[in-house]
């Protein structure tokens, strides 16, 4: 019979593109005022990756730092799961390129597309591989260049989305540090956040904001509860909440409905914008770098978005 292990997050890191776009700049390129953007989304800036900051480069940068923090031997990293939805080249996936550049030649490597929920699905995949004994460490990355797929002609998306990459290393552990994942979908609502085409045939992300907001704020509180139950904890035990960084309106409404205090909630979105699958690891990295956490703190991760699909789990801070 195979042996079973526990898993924990042993490293977390971010790559943030150099160029930050202000609301004033967004306003100059669209029909919306900076005040409207802040009131509507809470976002002050978002990063747009430059030509040199391609998905592979950003993912490698974040992955390298996470591996260093975890002190993981490359030969012991048997799996790379890369969550992204914004590759221009649909074949091949980019996880093998990331693995090769990191010297992980024996690792399994694949991309995972669950859009904004991608990272929390990827954590589930990585954690399950570690727990089953298939690998000692798994590198889990969320990387996005959403700026390639938005247009000033559609301010609803242009004001919120940004680019970046975040990564964690999930490692074999004696005590549990990544709880069982919960997930679900509402595929009948696939059209509320989806790639669409303009008159010239160019693809861009289209979103029905009110319907995304309605689904997120009505369905995700139950998902959060389920993640806690799966981990054998209650919401009152949760010290930090790291939801998908959709926008501040969704995050704040969710936190309110979960009864969480404002200072427990990470709002990386204010500076980084909504970075789809990169948003949860970027926010987790910001929380770690803040120095406000202690190893073992309970953190609720909750990814949700286009699909519609969601996944979440309770983890312990490294």
């Amino acid at each position: 019979m195979p042996q079973h292990y526990e898993s924990r997050i042993s490293g977390v890191a971010a790559y943030r593109p150099a160029r930050l776009i202000s609301n004033t700049e967004i306003s100059a390129r669209t029909t919306v005022a900076p005040e409207w953007i802040v009131e509507r989304t809470g976002i002050q800036t978002r990063a747009h990756a430059g030509p040199e900051e391609d998905l592979v480069t950003m993912a490698v940068e974040a992955g390298q730092k996470a591996i260093a923090m975890a002190s993981a031997e490359p030969g012991d990293i048997g799996l790379v799961v890369l969550a992204t939805a914004t590759r221009r080249q649909r074949i091949p996936g980019i996880a093998p390129q990331v693995a090769s550049r990191l010297g992980l030649s024996t690792a399994g490597a694949f991309d995972l597309n669950a859009v904004c929920a991608g990272f929390t699905y990827a954590v589930a995949m990585g954690s399950n591989a570690v727990r089953s004994g298939e690998t000692q460490h798994a590198l889990v990355i969320g990387a996005e260049r959403v700026s390639d797929w938005i247009t000033p002609d559609d301010p609803d998306t242009f004001v919120i989305f940004g680019d970046g990459a975040g990564a964690v290393v999930v490692s074999r552990s004696a005590e549990w540090g990544v709880g069982p994942s919960i997930w679900g979908n509402d595929g009948d609502r696939h059209a509320v956040l989806a790639m669409t085409e303009d008159e010239s045939g160019s693809e861009y992300v289209g979103m029905n904001g009110p319907l995304v907001y309605k689904w997120s704020t009505s369905a995700m509180p139950d998902a959060a509860q389920r993640a806690c139950v799966a981990a054998g904890v209650t919401l009152a035990d949760i010290q930090w909440f790291v939801p998908h960084q959709a926008n501040c309106r969704i995050i704040d409404t969710l936190a309110h409905r979960l009864g969480l205090r404002e200072d427990q909630v990470v709002r990386d979105v204010v500076e980084a914008g909504n970075t789809s699958a990169a948003s949860v690891p970027l926010a987790l990295s910001r929380l770690y770098e803040s120095g406000r956490t202690s190893p073992g703190d309970l953190v609720l991760l909750l990814g949700f978005g286009a699909g519609l699909t969601y996944a979440g789990q309770v983890v312990r801070m490294p």
């Binding site: 609502r189 904001g209 009110p210 319907l211 907001y213 009505s218």
Partner: protein, 81 residues
Amino acid sequence: MNNDQILGEIARQIRILMPGLQGQIRMETVFEELGMDSLTRVDLLSAAEMSFGIEVPDDEVGSLVRVQDLVDFVMYSQAAA
């Protein structure tokens, strides 16, 4: 519940969501004219779902723009239940 009771409950929920709101809330009131943005309107619909035990389908969200629209929808939903 009759029309007036539904109106009263909806007005109460609007004032919870918009604490600084001045003036009366009438049947003909358009949510946007109260300064209510589209996401707050969604919050109102969610509150109505909870309060009246109804469900607002996605394809109705965009059409419920006046108090009267919501009152009518609640009446219809309750009659159909």
